[in-house]
């Protein structure tokens, strides 16, 4: 058996924790982060979760509860989250021969020490990230990515573990007990019909799935689920990309046939990937409010690992490939080092919502009022011509967002000079 181990590093309640870095008053208080487009909850602090605040809940529906429990809401501050994320990833890169950034707040690290060394390294990694960035993280260590995810789950749920859970420290009986206590739906990508069919076959827990015949699972389900069975048995066989796709994200990520070594080439790559990812978006009738974009050097390269990772929020949700490409280039190219051999890049879209051209008017304006506006428009165009007046949706939209920003958006304290955080000398 190989001594290679995989660690999953995961920032606890990432967005909410980022909000606390420059605003320590939020420590211990329930914090929710809202999407900028529709004011729905996209992230929650542990305290907000404990209060029963659900993902996707519209902020206005939480108003009575918010007042009672002092829930603090913030708009998504992607500039801040993106910068803090890249700091976390850069620190993590110093602790491993190979870092695979999985999402804005998760990364896999390859470890090759003894179990005790790996645990010690993970504890030091955790303390370093906490001290250097202010962010709390948990680390799960195991033989495969799927098992590392389970271990990470354990590290989060059991405070006595101090944020590090190494499955190598578990007896086989204890691993069995943990897997028995978790339903298969805790696994990435097992839900809906798959769950129902597994239930019919008597596969209810993660242990049941691990102990199923991999060939049988492949025939009845898919090769993807078969790999999950192998992963649960300790064989690392799922690539990070297929993992992302399992999770149902809209993403386009590929390895290059030959390494990309210049910014100019990377810009071309991003343009192509932007076109492809936006096509997926349009095909499903969605628009995206934000994206993350990354590039990575080879794990086998002798040079230092380099995996720049950036996040961008759009002023208006979009499915426009030009806008997506421009955002990726603007954010990522500055971090691409000419001469490094990049072997892959990817674009992931977030804050996905249904494309609705007049969403703002529909949500916030009573129908009767809309009709009056329409009538007024008709009157004007009848008298002065069709192009004399139009719906100023863009203007209305930005006005509303500006209002919201002023109220709920924390300063972009690490990326904008005029929004630096304040330290008090008084």
């Amino acid at each position: 058996m190989s001594d290679q181990r995989t660690a999953l590093l995961d920032v606890n309640n990432f967005f909410a924790s980022c909000e606390r870095v420059f605003d320590p008053k939020l420590e211990g208080r329930p914090v929710v982060v809202l999407s900028n487009n529709d004011g729905c909850v996209v992230a929650r602090s542990a305290e907000a979760k404990a209060l029963g605040v659900t993902m996707g809940a519209p902020w206005f529906s939480l108003a009575p509860m918010a007042e009672k429990f002092g829930i603090v809401a913030r708009s998504s501050n992607y500039e801040l989250y993106g910068d803090l994320s890249s700091r976390v990833m850069e620190i993590a890169g110093r602790f491993t021969s190979h870092l695979e950034v999985y999402s804005i707040d998760e990364a896999f690290l390859h470890l090759s020490g003894t179990p005790a060394q790996n645990s010690a390294l993970a504890a030091e990694l955790r303390a370093t990230i906490r001290r250097h960035t202010g962010l709390p993280v948990c680390v799960g260590i195991a033989q495969s990515k799927t098992l590392a995810k389970l271990a990470n789950h354990g590290a989060k749920k059991s405070p006595y573990m101090n944020g590090v859970c190494n499955l190598d420290d578990f007896t086989p009986e204890r691993v069995n007990a943990v897997m028995e206590s978790m339903p298969v739906t805790e696994l990435w990508g097992v839900a809906g019909r798959t769950r129902k069919r597994l239930t019919n076959l008597g596969v209810l827990t993660i242990r049941d799935l691990r102990d199923s015949d991999p060939e049988f699972i492949r025939k009845r389900f898919s090769v993807v689920l078969q790999r999950t069975v192998h992963e649960l048995r300790g064989i690392d066989c799922i690539s990070i990309d297929s993992m992302r796709e399992i999770k149902g994200q809209i993403i386009y990520s590929r390895s290059f046939s030959t390494p990309v070594t210049t910014r100019a080439e990377m810009e071309q790559v991003l343009a192509v990937y932007a076109a492809r990812v936006s096509k997926r978006l349009r095909k499903q009738g969605y628009v995206a409010g934000a994206l993350t974009c990354y590039a990575a050097t080879s794990r086998f390269a002798n040079a230092e690992n380099h995996a720049p990772f950036v996040a961008v929020r759009f002023d208006d949700s979009t499915d426009d490939p030009i806008q997506i490409a421009a955002a990726c280039s603007q954010a990522l190219l500055g971090r691409v080092v000419d001469g490094n051999k990049y072997v892959r890049a990817g674009i992931m879209l977030h804050e996905i919502s249904r494309a609705k051209p007049s969403e703002f008017l529909e949500i916030f304006t009573p129908v009767s009022e809309l009709r009056q506006v329409g009538r007024a428009l008709d009157t004007v165009t009848d008298r002065f011509g069709a192009s004399s007046i139009g719906l100023g949706v863009a203007g209305l939209k930005s006005a509303r967002r500006w209002e919201m920003k002023r109220e709920l958006l924390s300063p972009r304290a690490t990326t904008h000079w005029d929004e630096l955080a304040t330290v008090f000398a008084r």
Binding site: P24, E90, R131, T133, A413, L420, F424
Partner: protein
Amino acid sequence: MAVVVDIAKVLSPFDDAAGILVSPVGVAAGFPSPAQDYFDGRIDLNAHLIRDITSTFIVRVAGDSMRDAGISDGDEVIVDRSIEPRDGVVVVAVVDGELTLKRLSVLRDRVVLRAENPRYPDIVVASLSELTIWGVVTRCLHRV
């Protein structure tokens, strides 16, 4: 025989336009300048003012309680969170949920967060563990 090249000629804009790398020093032909090899760009403030970019943050000062430490209202300070707080350094500490600028004084029996302005009181605690030190200030950027 060493021929001294006219420095004005070396630095002439025509040379630059022709794509010749201009060295910051006059060059004596036949006697290579040891500095020449090391000229690879202008001074990079990030390189000199920031030790570890991943743990460094810039924050803006509000108030005059650190006046006598040379830190004024409106200045920006560079904070390195990777530096271990020691006696005598200026720190950003969390006081009542706010990021607060103080001089850290570690004494035998107590720890004091001092203002550098007599108009402001000290904050005294029993030990460092009772404080949340956010980071250590390394530089102050003051507009003159």
